[in-house]
């Protein structure tokens, strides 16, 4: 169990070497080790302190076009050996597939890039607690209608990771992620409502202030008091920038190689088709400095591009592929093993207010719940909460409704995307306005 014996690089080299000796044709592994602290304050008192200390080794082996994988937290020599043995044992029973194996050697990333991914947070627990208390206090003091709290949390994580494979590729890097969040409850004669806000960043100095996060949480909560159902109707729906990202995430899910080769996607055979209006471009920026999704190679060591348009002027350019799914489809890997890295969605130039004005009347959605999406057909139906808008102005909060359509139609029916980007996380997207959606309510 001891991690003291080997550093990550040595552990990786030892594992690859041992796998070769055990008869693996190829092997690859990822290792990570990290520490973190989570502190929650509630009602202006410390509620929980959690210390995290994680380590994980994941290894995949390939032999005679078969594969097996195994993982463990045990990075001792003995632990690594038994993990490799377990993977080799599995590879005896799986079926052969010519598409298995490492990504092609000539695609391995050449030179490590400094992408500004690691900023250890020097705050100690007392300082983190103080930040959480200030955050919650700002929310509570904002209004007497903030009557209860689920607390404010401060989280910090910092770790190192290694990816290595039997082509001789090995990368080692450090990364960090920090966040502050707050969730409060408001109440009046109409009942209770809860909402939250958060910020996250690799660099704690770039986080919004604790007070601002608390204040936004309080304002969002108060705005929901008195929410009601509206009658079922067809209407224009504006997804605010926080929830608009989910539409991009469904899109990416539908063009992933795994879904495509299994014919389990509503985006099948859409390469070269106009799947979005002409004003929409979705680009991947894997080298963006300091961004949460940045990396100079993908999960198989393949060099990531600095920029790639997945959708260019509405037209789908390519799927999202790792080496296995690329080979299944007779295509080249798009360096997306492990997912997409930092998406930016283009905008049509309007602010939030301008979008509301242009919409005139319709529904502004600020929260979605449930997962009623059929990825084979694109049928979409989710629970929603938000605000009814008339004459470009918010009228009253709305809840206990659903928004429904088919994703293929919904993407075509996008009429505007705001410049009000939500910069948190790895997708940057403004509010999205979609016409002709069905709202179910009373």
């Amino acid at each position: 169990m001891s991690q003291a014996g080997l550093d990550l690089r040595n552990a990786a080299e030892f594992a690859i070497d041992y796998a070769r000796k055990q008869g693996a044709d190829q092997s690859e592994l990822s290792l990570h080790q990290g520490t973190g602290i989570s502190i929650t304050a509630r009602q202006q008192e410390l509620e929980t302190v959690e210390k995290h200390n994680d380590a994980q080794l994941v290894i995949s082996v390939y032999k005679d076009k078969k594969t097996g994988s195994a993982s463990s937290a045990d990075m001792s020599e003995l632990g690594i050996k038994s993990t490799v043995d377990a993977a080799m044992s599995i590879a005896r029973y799986t079926g052969a597939d010519d598409c298995f194996g490492l990504a092609d050697a000539d695609r391995m990333a050449g030179k490590a890039l400094e992408l500004d991914l690691h900023h250890e947070w020097q705050a100690n627990e007392a300082q983190m607690l103080e930040i959480a208390m200030r955050c919650e206090q700002a929310a509570i003091e904002h209004s007497e209608q903030i009557t209860n709290s689920e607390g404010a949390s401060v989280n910090t994580y910092s770790g190192s990771a290694v990816y290595a494979n039997s082509h001789g590729f090995l990368s080692e890097g450090l990364g960090s992620q920090h966040s502050v969040s707050c969730s409060v409850i408001g109440s009046n004669e109409s009942g209770m409502q809860r909402d939250y806000w958060y910020d996250s960043n690799r660099n704690a100095e770039k986080l919004d202030s604790a007070e601002k996060i608390g204040l936004v949480a309080a304002k969002r909560t108060l705005a929901r008091l008195g929410a009601r159902q509206i009658p079922s109707c067809e209407a224009t729906v504006m997804y605010d920038s926080g929830v608009a990202k989910s539409l991009i995430s469904h899109f990416v899910g539908a063009i992933k190689g795994g879904a495509i080769y299994k014919k389990a996607s509503f985006m099948l055979d859409k390469i070269g088709s106009d799947v979005l209006p002409e004003f929409v471009t979705i680009a991947e920026n894997p080298h963006k400095l300091g961004a949460s999704g940045s990396a100079w190679h993908d999960g198989e060591g393949v060099e990531t591009p600095e920029y790639r348009a997945i959708v260019d002027a509405g037209r789908l350019q390519s799927y999202v592929l790792g080496s296995y799914t690329a080979r299944k489809l007779g295509l080249e890997s798009t360096a997306n093993a492990g997912g997409v890295r930092n998406l930016t969605v283009s905008n049509t130039g309007q602010s939030t207010e301008k979008l509301l004005q242009e919409m005139g009347s319709g529904l502004l959605v600020t929260e979605l719940i449930g997962s009623g999406i059929n990825m084979v057909t694109g049928d979409y139906s989710r629970g929603a909460a938000g605000f009814w808008v008339e004459n470009g102005e918010i009228q009253y909060p709305v809840e206990e409704i659903t928004v429904a359509g088919n994703l293929l139609d919904m993407y075509q029916n996008i009429v505007a995307i705001g410049d009000d980007y939500d910069m948190r996380g790895s997708t940057e997207c403004g509010s999205i306005v979609i016409e002709n959606m069905t709202i179910a309510g009373s």
């Binding site: 169990m1 929980t48 959690e50 200390n53 994988s69 079926g95 009623g372 989710r382 009373s442």
Partner: protein
Amino acid sequence: MNQDHLSIAQATLLEPSGLSDTHLQQLMHKLTNVDGSDFADLYFQYSKHESWSLDEGQVKTGSFNIDQGVGLRSIVGEKTAFAYSEDLNASAILAAADVVSAIGRQGQNVTSQDLWRPQIIKPLYSELDPVAALDDASKVAILEQADRAARDHDPRVKEVMASLSGVYEVVLIVTSDGRQIPDVRPLVRLNVSVIVEQNGKRERGSMGGGGRHSFDYFDTAIIEHYSHEAVRQALVSLEAIDSPAGTMEVVLGSGWPGILLHEAVGHGLEGDFNRKGTSAFSGRIGEKVASELCTVVDDGTIANRRGSLSVDDEGNQTKDTVLIENGILKGYMQDEHNARLMGMDITGNGRRESFAHLPMPRMTNTYMHAGQHDPEEIIKSVKNGLYAVNFGGGQVDITSGKFVFSSSEAYLIEDGKITAPVKGATLIGNGPEAMQTISMVGNDMSLDSGVGVCGKDGQSVPVGVGQPTLKMDALTVGGVQL
């Protein structure tokens, strides 16, 4: 038999790194050596997980994982300090204990135990390691059989994706009040999903199940049932028309649709939310929160069920806890911490995803007792409505009480008859209000097949649900057809 569990737990978790009772005493001293310490525990866990998956007619991937470690927790009033160690050597665990004890001022030693009393609790499942008990070739054969059963069932089946997973867990819980509780927990699951195609139109269907069994639970009859059921659902979906949108009478089938109870009432009755007063059900014990036809329980004591536990993750025996009786709210689901702070009884609902996570009140198997009506009679009573029999996931906003759950197989009811299948739609309601509109409850109570996973605060645990066929007089159906 419990003695077996204790020896398995000690052999798996303590003996390899030479941990003795003296070490445990030392650890517990550190955890309780805090001013005002109320409770502390150690959660030793070994977990072995194996999974295999098939597509394109062959088992392509398999993975194997071993995790072990110990979680250390100390509670002072409403404050909790927590750390864990993946290293089970005494020095590493003691270092983690130092981190935990730094939470409060050092005080005088609270009562600390020299000897732990092993708890005798009757196990609800076998102590067999399902991963080791069956050879790999036979596991692969289960998936291949599922693939064949689906493809042979209908030529429109174009793709079959199946997965098989087995978990073997050994835990040992050591508490500051002098208990030492072992548990040995198997868990298996098989899932089959298919893609069918007809005239260029594709649809999906899926079915699965399992429980705290070994893999021999998946005999030919069960494998074929899952495969045929996945195909049937996919073929029904091929014919589905747009779902209606709006508020209407909704009949929910028996079994898995019990996810209604999990979302609409279950989460809202977990002790932590109610202690903090953040649930739509807070402070409402004794009030009528559902129609008088509704009796809802959380029962962790059903043998071999996916959601069952002989003891919870705090070493307390699970119970059959009445949450709602004839419509009246009777009680909450509690763990140690929240029960103590609320002055209520522990219900054995303290659960955690692993040693690296803090326990909290969680559901086990949540279901509604059977009622009087023949299910057919319930359908006949509906003029225009929806009959929903299969669901995907759900979610709830604890504070406002708004819950959703997404149907994957549903039909129109017209003039008391089930007619056209409709596409999946999300159903949405307010927990306490929706439960009041239940006007008929069937005599066909059944539990789900054993696939539930519940997420809370980023922690996943296996759960079960169940219910009889029931009718809600008004629920909002999130279709597209106005």
